[in-house]
Structures are given as C-alpha cells and as structure tokens.
C-alpha cells in the first residue's frame, strides 16, 4: 500500500511544481500596469465589455477583425497587427493599398495572444462574438475595446467606426471621414431609381450550402439603405442556410453570389429546372461578387465598394 501512495504523491508533486510557476507571474503583471499609467490625456471609451481608458494617440494598433482594419484605414492609420487568417489576400485591394506592412497575428477565431503581446500594442480592437472570452487577457496586453462586427448590421458598423475613431483620439477626423462616406452613399443612392421594385439577395454559396443574407444582415441592410429591397424580409436569423425550394419561394430578382470554392451547391442546382425558373436566373441577374469584400470586411470602404459593385451590376451594364 505504501508504494501505491508514493505514486499518488509523485503526481501531486508534479502539480505542485506547476503551481509554483504561478507565484512569479503576479509581479510581472503589476510591473506592466505601472508602465501604462504615465499619460497625457485619458478618455474613457464605452464598449460591449465595459469601459476602457485610453490615453494619447495609440500608435500601435492590433485589429482582430477585418472591419476594424477598414475603420483604421479610413482614418489613415495602419495597424501593426491583423488577424488575417494567415492569408494576406483576404485583405481587399483598396484597403491593402492604404495600409503598410503588418504582422499577421493568426486566425480571427483564435488569434495568437503571444504574437499580439510581442507587438506591444497601445490599442487592441476585437470582436464581441469571437473575442469576448479573451477580453481579460487582451486587456492585460493593452487597452482593449470589444465591438460588434461579426453580428453587426450596417448601422452597427457605423457605430463601431465612431467608437474606433474616438478610441484613436481622432473624433474630428472620424466625423470628416464619415461625412464623406455618407455623401458617397447619397450619391450611390441617387443612382437607384425611385421605382426600383426588384428584390435582391446576397448569399454566400459554398460546398456546404447556400447561406442567404436577409434584410437585417450586414450586406442586406447595406443594400436596403440605398433602396434595394432584400428578397428575405422575414426570418429570425440574419444568415440562413436555405435550400433550392426556399430560394425558389423567395424568388429574388437579383442574386449576388459570394462563392467559396469552385464547386458549390449552385453548380449542382444549375442543372435543375427549378433553379432556372428563379427570376434572377431567367433575367440573367446572377452576379459573382468577391466574398472578402462583400461579406468579410464590413467597414466603410468596403460598404462603398459593395454598393459601387451593386449599382454597376444593376444599372450600368445595360447602358
């Protein structure tokens, strides 16, 4: 029996040793805290997870969602770190041109905290849905604000932009950019005739299914804002996986397909006479659009680009 307890104590010993590492750590955290306290002017930013104090103009900013990259680029700020899913191509052209070289901090789903901390940022902007669980850890690295991106509609995106510009200490610049953006949106809206009654439906088409974005989704609400009615006005979800029969039922007049991969469900549907009967297919109004721009970015620049795309597809081609 004695021997058996030895085995148990060995295990306890291992666990105990590990716990020892702990004691050291607390001090480190406090040290870091002191450094951040020297500040010029501080402002308190309210966000989804509470309030965060930010001082001065953050120079090194890490963005954990694409929409924040867009927000920063709109303000003329180049983030030092981006969770770009390890694929620089995911950053859409017009924004890639705006920003300088950055360090990838991994995937948006699980950004590498270690890389983020090694960049020693002054501000981290993260998404409510993906990153609320790591808010505490991000806050230990740098002041962190958590904003809705993944689950936001167009208005939410505008709100986020305003919060970002406040956090950056660039409220005036933000107002300016926003005014410009709104003017551009007005111009785009003007290109949509008053009597436009066609319904549109943006959707991600993947191998795994057809994901329709309804009127409350980001892309859907954006198109609605310039008078393009979404084909799906109902539904409790912003993003719905629908089948061919439902698509036929909604019968959109214009389809914007964001394709993920070459082989998608639509490849199969195309041989189906039901699909051929959909108004958009009959009228040749099925448009392939860039998924990165149309769905992943969710920002000011991308919003403008999406609408430019849409207006071009809908009105300029015929001329």
């Amino acid at each position: 029996m004695k021997k058996q307890w030895t085995a148990f104590f060995m295990l306890l010993f291992v666990l105990f040793l590990a716990a020892c590492g702990n004691a050291n750590d607390e001090q480190t955290v406090e040290d870091e805290g002191d450094k951040n306290q020297e500040s010029e002017e501080t402002r308190v930013i309210k966000h989804e997870m509470g309030e965060t104090e930010i001082s001065g103009t953050p120079e090194k900013v890490v963005a954990l969602e694409f929409s924040f990259v867009d927000n920063l680029a709109s303000l003329g700020v180049s983030p030092v770190g981006i969770a770009d899913d390890n694929d620089k191509e995911r950053i859409i052209e017009p924004i890639r041109e705006e920003i300088e070289d950055y360090t990838s901090v991994g995937t948006r789903k699980q950004p590498s905290l270690e890389v983020i901390s090694s960049l020693q940022p002054d501000l981290i902007i993260a998404d409510m849905q993906r990153h609320k669980d790591i808010y505490d850890q991000l806050s230990e690295i740098a002041p962190t604000i958590i904003l809705p991106s993944l689950a936001a509609d167009y208005e939410g995106i505008i709100d986020s932009f305003q919060t970002v510009s406040k956090a950056m200490g660039m409220e005036d610049k933000g107002e300016e950019v926003l005014a410009e953006h709104q003017q551009k949106m007005e111009e785009l809206r003007a290109q949509v005739p008053e009597d436009e009654d066609r319904t549109v439906l943006p959707a991600v088409v993947a191998d795994s299914g057809y994901y329709a974005h309804n009127m409350e989704s980001y892309t859907g609400s954006l198109l609605e804002s310039i008078g393009l009615k979404n084909a799906i006005q109902s539904g409790d979800d912003r993003y719905n996986k629908i089948n061919l029969e439902q698509l036929v039922e909604f019968n959109p007049d214009v389809l914007f397909h964001m394709s993920a991969g070459d082989e998608t469900v639509v490849t199969e549907w195309e041989n189906n006479s039901l699909y051929q009967d959909i108004s958009a297919v009959k009228n040749d109004e099925v448009h392939e659009v860039d998924r990165n721009m149309w769905s992943r970015f969710r920002g000011l620049i991308s919003s403008e680009k999406i609408l430019e795309d849409a207006v071009q597809y809908l009105y300029e081609e015929q001329k």
């Binding site: 750590d25 020693q120 505490d136």
Partner: protein, 330 residues
Amino acid sequence: MNLKKISPLAWILFLSILTLLGAFLSIGIGAVFIDPAVILHYFTGGNVENSGFIIGNFRLPRIVMCLLVGTGLGISGAILQGVVRNPLASPDVIGITKGAGLSAAAVIILFPELPVIGLPIAAFFGAGLVTVGLYLFAFRKGVQPATLALVGIALGAICQAGIQFLTIKFPIETNAALVWLTGSVWGKDWGDVWLLAPWILIVTPITFALAPKLDVLSLGDDVAEGLGEPVQKARLLLLIIAVLLAGSSVAIVGTLGFVGLIAPHIARQLVGNRHAYLLPASALVGILLLLLADDLGRGLFPPTEVPAGIFTAIIGAPYFLFLLRKLQKS
C-alpha cells in the same frame, strides 16, 4: 511483453520526470520562441521583459491547464473503464462531454450576451444533466455495465443531434462555438486555472483512496459482491467522481476528445491493471498527450493556433485503431 518487466512505480517515476520535462520545454514553444536559458532566468526571478509577460500570462496558464485537464480526463477515463468494465468507455462515449458540449453550444449561440463565466457553468450543468439521465435510464435496482454504456451512447447521440441542429440552424454564430467544441486551452488564463484547480485537486486524492474498490469491481459483480463490496453503491460513487473530473475539465477547455479514452489504455500497457498505479499513470499520460497536442497546436503553424482537440484526435484515433486490432488478435 518486456515493457511489463519494469516495475509500475518505475514507470510512474519515468512518466513524472517526462511530464516535468515536457512542461518545461512547452514553455519555450509557441509563435514566439523562448530560449530555455531565458526561461530559467525568468524562474529565478530575473527580468526578461516581454518574454516574461508571454510566459506568465499565456504559456504557464496553458501548461498548468494541460496538467489539470490531462489529470481530470485521464483519471475519469480510467475510472469509467473500470466501472463499466469495457475498454471503450470514456467520458466521450458515455455522453458526459456531449452533454457539456450541447449546453455550451446552446449558451454560445442562443445567449451571446451572457457573461463569460456562464459558459463553464452551463457546460458543467450539461454534463450533470446527462449523468442524471444516465442514472434515471440505466439504474433499476442497480446497473449492468453494458446498460450503462449503451444508455450513455444513446444520450450522447441525442446531445450530438442537438449540437448538429444548432450548427445548421445558426451557421454564423456556430463559428465561435466551434473553437469550444473542438476543445482548446487557447486563451486560458489564471482565472480559468483557479476555476478548475479546486475540482481536480480535491477530487483526485479521493480517487486514489477508492483505487482498491475499482480493483474489486473490475473482477466482476459476482466476485465483488462475494468479497463484501456493495457493488451498486460503489459504482454510483465512482461514476459521480468520474463525471466531476471530466465535467469540470470539459467545462473549461471544451469537448477535448480522445484523451479520456486513450490515456488509460496507454497507461495500462505500462503499469498494468492495478488501479493504484493505473490512475496516476493515466493522469500523467493524459497530461503528456495534452501537452504534446497543445505544443503542436501552438508551434506548428505560427501564428495560427490549432485547437489541441484536433491533435488529440489525430494522435488518438490511429492509436485507438491499433489498439482495437490488438484486442482482436488476443
């Protein structure tokens, strides 16, 4: 097999040393490589600037988390295999982790506004609910091991169906839930460690005291009864303990598969069937598996983090197939 010639205690000593070594080496591995010399400097109280921040805030909590979860899942699996007397038993098979998974996925997807602490509570609650279900359906004046396994599989399948339903119904929100459903020690901090540590550190010693009961139970009900062991009571007690260990572990790190299944098997190859050796050995093997999985997840494709659950499955599944073939032959 000549592996068996080495005494169980020597194996456990060897595994302990390996675990400590593994834990130490793991500190250096990650998107930012840290030199062992720097790590030593850190532990002796030296100032190593940002490396210290990374070690103290990210690496150590993860590694301690691996120690706790490896222990919890490893021992839970060993107990379940002893209680159910079936080498296929594990927290996954018996539905515990699936129950935690369903209730966690429901919370992530349906109540995104809930504070962060809600998730582990919900997951633990889910694991508990499945156990109550197990008890209601399987226990009628006692339980047969086979019934327990079958009911567990059925309950697990129901929960799995629920998870599938949620992922299909809410494709976007599922994204956030997926990380949890694969199981990962990514993003775990000291707060999480303190949440889990009491469970594991209190329950584990109890299991060692119960090791002789497990030995007797694994002889079969008749023999155990003959030896004066109140079989049904002992079985229920052990089941509850297994659920506490696995449920609390899974509540924090998500539904990490295969560790609870594989670790006891590997341990059994090394130290034999006596539970006084098997339990600590299972814990140590569980820890080693998890450390390895997380090191790979952190270090293989930086800065991309691969959930440890993916690697435990990659390591675990082939080993399990190998094991099944071996069992067939004998």
